[in-house]
Amino acid sequence: MTEIWIVVAVIGLGTMALKAAGPVLLGGRPLPSRLTGVVALLAPALLAALVATTALGDGQQIVADARLIGLSAAVVALALKAPVLAVVLAAAVAAALVRLIGIA
């Protein structure tokens, strides 16, 4: 039982430190201009990685399942200039339907 609480404490404190490292250590100081160029690209690089891993990843495996159908529905919704909420709903509904009828 104590073991569990040690895990909870270490993960909790460790995550807090990871989240706060940049904001606390860097403060409000502006970064050197060459680094600003790198930081501006962190968002597209990380978001694309999150799209790829949440759509295709399953532990250490790459799998194509209903999530991919959901993502395709999202692409269509985005092409139609739908708002973010509609894009997310389209993906969830498409994936749920595909699973309901048992294709993927």
């Binding site: 940049g22 970064l31 959901g70």
Partner: protein, 224 residues
């Protein structure tokens, strides 16, 4: 100079944008609670404390599934912290947009998760502090609330995957990514980041591919 919008407006805008995600996050919180409270799991109270303090879904699921599969505590800790190491580059990207002294900045940084960070991104490397905090608060409430419902007895709510909720996350990240693709370099960084993440997934523990994908941003060092 252009007057920045009042922070209350930005807080509300962030909160409203986060609501559909909060539904999905809340339901995943329920499944985290259910997984933790069933036999062999970490238990109800540790699960709720973890959601309150850690507030990072993928890391918590990783830790909970390792523990309930009978894995070592050290393995659960390593997996969770590895998954959350992406918050170092994410934290650096928002650092200069958070106001206040070290203690306040520390507190505000806790509301940063993938979704609130993405909602706050303006697309040109700028982040709206108010949106980040508004979205973060709504998502934190959903995550903690969902966990509590789950440990009390959310079995009845069913499997989030059957509802297509797992497909909601890639769709959200894609929608937010599209608004970021305003330059050729951004498109290059996105393609490279996705390629790195997919290429590493089979060979590294979960979490590493996303951290490595941050390396794609280094193309920003090249001269224009």
């Amino acid at each position: 100079m252009e007057q920045p919008p009042p922070i209350r407006f930005e807080l509300r805008a962030g909160a409203v944008t986060a609501i559909p995600l909060a539904v999905a996050v809340g339901l995943f919180g329920v499944s985290f609670g259910v997984l933790s409270a069933t036999s062999g799991g970490m238990g109800a109270l540790p699960a709720v404390v973890m959601s309150v303090t850690t507030f990072a879904g993928s890391a918590q699921f990783a830790a909970a599934s390792i523990l309930s599969a009978g894995g070592q505590p050290i393995a659960a800790i390593a997996a969770a912290l590895l998954l959350n190491a992406r918050y170092i580059p994410i934290g650096i990207s928002v650092a200069r947009f958070l106001s206040g002294g070290p203690a306040l900045r520390f507190a505000k940084a806790q509301l940063v998760i993938d979704e609130s960070w993405a909602i706050a991104a303006r697309g040109d490397g700028h982040f709206e502090q108010g949106r980040l905090l508004g979205a973060g608060i709504v998502l934190w409430l959903a995550w903690v609330g969902g966990t509590i419902i789950g440990v009390i007895g959310g079995d009845a709510l069913g499997d989030p995957a059957a509802l297509g909720l797992d497909a909601a996350f890639p769709a959200l990240f894609l929608a937010l990514l599209v608004s970021q693709l305003q330059s050729r370099r951004a498109i290059g960084a996105a393609l490279l980041g996705a390629a790195i993440a997919i290429a590493l997934t089979p060979f590294t523990p979960p979490g590493v591919p996303i951290i490595a994908a941050a390396g794609a941003a280094l193309i920003g060092l090249a001269r224009r």
